[in-house]
Symmetry: C2
Subunit: 230 residues, 2 copies
DNA sequence: TTAAAGAATATTGTATACAAAAAAATATTG
DNA sequence: CAATATTTTTTTGTATACAATATTCTTTAA
């Protein structure tokens, strides 16, 4: 979640790759992440895999059980509302902070992101579109100028995206339907209250579109990460 | 921050002890935490110390710099406001959720905590009083019935306590002055808005009482953790 | 005496070996 | 054949050795 130096450490490479792959819904919730497999795949020792997994577990996208191991986090239906509420609170506070204070550069950046996101979705590249949609929310968190609040927001954005991955496999991926440009509009012009309300509605809409049926979960780590088996 | 099984793992022991000691202001912000020293002190390998430190760094109470090591987190004065704002948002949302919904058991528990806290402060045991004061806020987070929100709240409670440790060495320790029983009262009776307001005022008061002067920081790990040197 | 350069020391980063625990596979018994 | 025991295999937990890096100390020159 945090950016750092020029040359990425091995741990960072593993962390970021896994984070991306999970967030882009290529690794479904529930998939087991064994240390040795990942160590082989990334050609590093278990030590660095372990660290990366630990970090992911603090971000909430991976769940580590002692003596058992790590899986991509799954969420029970009954727990879903509290994650969305937490996200509404965090992201509502974030948008309040930027509402009416957007620089032209920031506005242009966001509009470009929205365009790119829509392009991906229209061309059928759902994974990339989803990623861009998340990046839009991440960017909002970054420009709100409050580090801990941004961290909270990003954590809940990632967490709820994972929930969407679990309970909205089929249809409209995440935010696709509700256009993000309306959010940009209100950030430029609107007062804080209206911006917060619109964000709340946006998130409520995503939550309302979840489907709590049965899902099929299974995958091959090597294939997903696009690496040949030894 | 998270509670777990019956028999604590080694990592958990190290983590909890360090967390307590830092939160009770026995380890001042800026103090270096070298892995070998801690490994000796706790009679475990560097591996488990490393994991504990990593976890503490995610909680924000320890700061790890690559190739340099871990110190108790320090906060620059200019960054202080954003941590308090984040805490107000998180804890404001938490108290909203419990306002008017306290069970008698919860009320009694909190009143007992307040009594204990005051007893410690009156008898001059500042460290323990401070700890109980934090536990009061932690308890509120626990009963609000929203796991991610509770985590955010606890994280910010710990983080701001650390700030208080750095910039309020001398006088009234944290919340001592403003009585927590008023908060209990409003949680029992008051509407959510009033409860949130009171919490905001409470936290604002703590922030306003910080003193950004010079501090003397230094200590001996072995002495603080009450273990004989080898 | 001070500043800079270099050597010595200490500390973190990574890999790996072995122990402990869990999971899977196989054998055994009703 | 089913259910349970037992063995085998796999996987995680911990300690430790060695490499890379940073820090400290000493030496040397202006």
């Amino acid at each position: 979640m945090e950016k750092s130096k020029g040359s990425k450490s091995q741990e960072e490479v593993v962390y970021e790759r896994l984070f991306d792959v999970i967030i882009e819904q290529k690794l479904q919730p529930g998939v087991r992440l064994t240390e040795i497999s990942l160590a082989e795949i990334f050609a590093v020792s278990r030590t660095v895999v372990r660290r990366a997994l630990l970090r992911l577990s603090y971000e909430g996208v991976v769940d580590i059980k002692p003596n058992i191991g790590a899986i991509v986090t799954t969420t029970e239906p009954k727990d879903v509302p509290q994650y969305f509420e937490a996200r509404r609170i965090a992201e509502g506070a974030l948008i309040r902070r930027v509402a009416g204070k957007l620089t032209t550069y920031q506005e242009e950046t966001m509009r470009a992101m929205v365009r790119e996101e829509n392009r991906y979705f229209l061309s059928g590249n759902r994974a990339r579109g989803l990623r861009k949609s998340i990046d839009f929310h991440f960017y909002l968190a970054d420009i709100a100028n409050n580090k801990p609040l941004a961290e909270m927001g990003k954590k809940m954005i990632a967490r709820t995206s994972l929930i969407v991955a679990q309970y909205n496999l089929s249809g409209s991926g995440g935010c696709a339907c509700v256009d993000h440009s309306a959010l940009v509009d209100v950030m430029v012009s609107g007062p804080a209250d209206r911006a917060e309300n619109m964000m709340h509605e946006h998130l409520q809409h995503i939550e309302d579109n979840l489907y709590f049926g049965k899902q099929s979960l299974e995958t091959d780590l090597y294939r997903i990460l696009e690496i040949d088996k030894p």
